[in-house]
């Protein structure tokens, strides 16, 4: 009994220095890692890029195969093509409406996003972190900075740059739960008053529309574009389409379910608007 007690005390007394040394070692390692954190992460991303891009392409192929299989092959592909075509048309409508409002020549409205005066940096998606964040292969060396808007070639808003490293960046998608974008319902009729609201992230790559006054009329199929009220994103970027309106007279605002236009599965390249904030 006495021996057992003695052994027990020895064990405890010998465990304490180990915990202290282990704790100190942990903090030293973490400190050193964070001191060179950006360089370490950047080096690993560069070294892993060839492998990652191969896996990424393989993932896309496997996903397409299962997607085609599940959605009856050709029908699925045709649907995807129609969606892309639809986005192009919506993008053109968005530009037309915006240009019409500005009183400019209608022909200019058919030009792409570059004609709006934006400098675009093309970037490839190299990974998906967590649920609503993607990694892209452009960083501070390419002129990317935190907060810059990220779109695709059809002017569909994906999100904004969240963290920048030398050769890659993390982009937070509009579906992330802390994301909130001021939007307006796209309206080709100038005589009607504009309807403003906010698109909020729900997580899991989905979003919803909120803060639409109950007296405003919104309907299924309405297209939402950025309103630029908050100053983070330029005006006229495509956000999503209303799929179901949820109106409750007891609440001051109505909400709506949205089908977001951004789709990671059909996107190879993204574009970062690098000069939007500078223009303001």
């Amino acid at each position: 009994m006495k021996n057992q007690t003695g052994v027990s005390i020895n064990k405890k007394s010998s465990a304490l220095p180990k915990i202290v040394i282990g704790g100190v070692a942990f903090f030293v390692i973490v400190f050193v890692f964070n001191l060179f954190g950006s360089q370490i992460k950047n080096s690993f991303q560069i070294a892993s890029y060839p492998l990652e891009s191969r896996f990424f392409t393989a993932g896309e192929s496997v996903s397409s195969f299962f997607g085609s299989f599940l959605k009856a092959g050709a029908l699925y592909k045709e649907n995807e093509n129609l969606k892309t075509e639809n986005l192009n048309l919506l993008s053109q409508i968005s530009l037309l409406v915006q240009k019409q409002e500005d009183g400019k020549d209608i022909n200019e409205a058919l030009a792409n996003c570059k004609d709006l005066g934006f400098s675009l940096v093309p970037a490839g998606i190299i990974g998906l972190d967590e649920q609503d964040m993607v990694s892209i292969n452009k960083g501070s060396a390419d002129g990317v900075a935190q907060g810059m808007p990220v779109i695709n070639q059809q002017n569909v808003l994906f999100g904004k740059v969240f963290k920048v490293y030398k050769n890659f960046s993390k982009v937070i998608l509009i579906s992330e739960k802390s994301s909130l974008i001021d939007v307006e319902v796209q309206n080709v009729d100038d005589t009607l008053s504009k309807i403003y609201g906010a698109v909020k992230g729900k997580g899991g790559l989905s979003v919803f529309l909120d803060l639409i006054p109950v007296d405003q009329e919104i309907k299924e199929g309405d297209v939402l574009i950025t309103s630029a009220l908050e100053g983070t994103f330029p005006k006229g970027l495509l956000v999503g389409k209303i799929t179901k309106v949820e109106k409750n007279d007891q609440k001051p605002f109505q909400q709506a379910q949205i089908e977001p236009f951004f789709n990671l599965k059909n996107t190879d390249n993204l574009f970062i608007i690098t000069n939007y904030k500078n223009e303001k």
Partner: protein, 176 residues
Amino acid sequence: MWLKVMLLTISFYMLAVLQNSFFSYLSFLGAVPNLVFVLFFLLIFFDKQRDYYPVVLWSVIAGFFIDVFSFTYFGVAIGLLLIVGILAKKIQKSLREPRQEFPLPYFLSLFIATSISYEILFKICAHFLNGISLAEILSLGILYNIIYNTFFAIIGFFVYKKVIANAVNKNQLKLL
């Protein structure tokens, strides 16, 4: 031993790259599996040593690769894996059945409890360090992550138990 550490370090790296690239397209309701965590847990679960050195070793290696490809600061995943790994080991020590047959329900309950702890702690850290919304904790995203991880953990469980553990018992695969 060093060969084992080297092989598993490469495995952790490959899994980290896989989950950040290949599985981006194979997400389950937006969730991407945390394969590094799954391998980490398998190593902890099937480790027969009674001390915590393997937990520390695998936490540092696995946590490093999670942190490298994550948006958070270095040390977050390492620290969290240390915490949940030590807790899992403590629970395992107090509950381990004498014959060490590692039944599936026992594995699953411990894996799910560890996963939930890790996911919630990670979201809390991401909130305070990176400003990510705390509402993520209450979202279904965590549930989808855990379901997806559990799917791979079950595969890993049978592979480890039937192939690797048997080989080790029969001295056919001494390096593991």
